[in-house]
């Protein structure tokens, strides 16, 4: 049943302009990051790692969270418009599957966005003629970043389900990301979902988190995702639908 719901969610994205955003925002991050790197080569000596600090900062702390929030708002706006909640919630699909199908589609989209960003990073490094070997840690950052994306998506999706406005949840997301930076600096990043992206993608510290920390990171992501999904599903189940 979940598979069918996911297929239905996929169909809704046809002829949609959301694809544009999925390509444009990572490209913008790379462009700005590369420009920064290029202009500050005097102080940035660590080649791939230095490039990563620049591109991932713009991507992970700004464009990616915005992208997640936009996708969530978009997926919900499809239902908020034209009374679609009525037909969706009167279909023989459990509220849990309605939510999880959307989260799954977001997971798939964000996976491709992460891969696309990785390719752009690689391409940019080659263009800038970085001579050291490509750091394999990046793969880990991309994957852990993806996990954090899903955590944030589970929250944003819940917000967008609730708030009919397109922009408000995106604004909330931006505020939360800045708060996340603060939490990260206070060493509380693991306990604030929006900081997980900073940790996972190795944005501020290019050390690869190890062993127990890795485990904590994965557990916290899982916990947050389950918790926020549960809240949204519970709400979807128990409140009146206004279409």
């Amino acid at each position: 049943m979940l598979k069918r719901s996911i297929a239905a969610e996929g169909l809704k994205l046809r002829h949609s302009r959301i694809w544009l955003i999925l390509f444009v925002l990572p490209s913008l991050s790379i462009l700005i990051g590369c420009a920064n790197y290029y202009l500050n080569q005097g102080v940035l000596h660590q080649e791939w790692y230095s490039l990563w600090t620049q591109v991932s900062l713009f991507y992970g702390e700004f464009f990616l969270p915005i992208l997640i929030a936009i996708c969530c708002s978009y997926l919900c706006r499809l239902e908020h418009q034209n009374h679609n909640w009525n037909s969706l919630m009167a279909a023989p699909i459990s509220p849990a599957h309605v939510f999880l199908a959307k989260l799954a589609v977001l997971g798939i989209l964000l996976f491709f966005v992460q891969i696309f960003f990785l390719l752009l990073y690689y391409g940019a490094g080659k263009l800038l003629q970085l001579s050291s070997p490509f750091p394999l840690e990046t793969l880990g950052w991309i994957f852990k970043g993806w996990l954090a994306c899903i955590t944030i998506a589970s929250i944003q999706l819940g917000l967008s389900l609730r708030i009919r406005s397109f922009a408000t949840p995106i604004g909330i997301c931006l505020c939360a990301v800045f708060m996340g930076l603060g939490m990260y600096l206070l060493k509380l990043g693991m306990f604030f979902p929006y900081s997980l992206l900073t940790i996972g993608m190795g944005i501020l510290q290019q050390k690869c988190i190890m062993g127990s920390e890795n485990l904590l990171f994965i557990i916290m992501n899982l916990l947050f995702t389950i918790l926020f999904s549960f809240i949204s599903i519970y709400r979807l189940k128990n409140t009146d639908i206004t279409a």
């Binding site: 297929a7 239905a8 909640w85 009167a90 023989p92 459990s94 009146d240």
Partner: protein, 304 residues
């Protein structure tokens, strides 16, 4: 006859205001049940509760003999619906919209072809729904509701926004559903004429309360016929008839009598003539369904 929909004391409060009050609905298999009431009477709220879109404050819902809460998926699998305005994804074509519903309901491709034929949208299926006219959107909505050929079809104001030709077409379609596909239809309307022409059973609701429920012919029978009498001296005639045990009421220039058989009328006439009173006119007044509806709903409003 099997009851398809049964509700027991179904109630819904919104912020302390009672929108639906202790509704006991009974819809039987093969019926076209017309849910009639003025705007804001609680029709949509009630239909939404039957689909689980609105959670009841109190009361029970059983559909196909099963408790709704415990069998939500089963019930919804066999129920098609069109609530409020039609639902659609404007950036997709009519066909793509149906494909989404097909995934959600897990039905074969041939159903899509068939419902497109039924609502006559085959020519427009590749057009974006945002560019559809209101009537076409409404027909697409009906197609989506029909897609799984459900046992129960719930339609909220199905002819809203249609032109007269379209109304006629949809009306004929709805009337054919029980016979052709074995679908029980529960529809709402604030237009009496519509219910009168489509429904086999009627539920009249006003201010959240069910004022009448039953077969349409019962409702029509319920309509009391009045006899209006006009005589040379109405006061004298009234006294005389009261002595004979009738209850004439003065009504403008006439006397009004309710519930008389033909024999009684003949006897009254004879009495008056024998008393040397001129009988000028004996008129029968048949109340239309509209009068009954207005009377029922008005009485309700006066009580508040």
């Amino acid at each position: 006859m099997n009851a398809v929909v049964t509700t027991q004391k179904l109630t819904k409060h919104y912020e302390g205001i009672c929108r639906v009050k202790e509704l006991d609905l009974q819809v039987y298999e093969g019926e076209i049940y017309g849910f009639l009431g003025p705007n804001g009477a609680g029709k949509s709220t009630n239909l939404k509760m039957l689909l689980g879109l609105v959670k009841p404050s109190a009361g029970k819902i059983a559909i196909f003999g099963k408790d709704f809460q415990q069998n939500r998926t089963y019930v919804l699998q066999h129920t098609g619906s069109l609530i409020e305005s039609p639902s659609y994804y404007g950036h997709l074509t009519g066909l793509e919209n149906l494909r989404i519903m097909q995934r959600l309901r897990d039905v074969p491709d041939k159903n899509i072809t068939e419902v497109l034929k039924i609502v006559r949208l085959e020519q427009q299926k590749h057009k974006k729904v945002a560019h559809y006219s209101l009537g076409m959107k409404q027909r697409l909505g009906i197609a989506m509701a029909l897609l799984a050929f459900p046992k129960l079809l719930i339609l909220d104001e199905p002819t809203n926004g249609l032109d007269p030709g379209g109304i006629e077409e949809i009306r004929e379609l709805i009337k054919s559903l029980p016979g052709q596909y074995g679908i029980t239809v529960l529809l709402s309307s604030h237009l009496l004429a519509e219910i009168e022409q489509m429904a086999t059973s009627v539920g009249i609701i006003s201010n959240g309360q069910l004022l009448f429920q039953g077969r349409k012919d019962t409702l029509q029978e319920k309509s009391k016929n009045y006899i209006f009498l006009r005589t040379g001296n109405n006061e004298w005639a009234q006294n005389l008839l009261q002595q004979k045990g009738y209850h004439p009421v003065k009504y403008k220039e006439q006397l009004r009598l309710a519930n008389l058989t033909d024999e009684e009328i003949a006897r009254i006439n004879k009495t008056l003539v024998q008393a040397n009173l001129d009988v000028i006119r004996i008129e029968e007044y048949h109340k239309s369904l509209e009068d009954i509806f207005l009377e029922l709903t008005r009485k309700e409003n006066n009580l508040c």
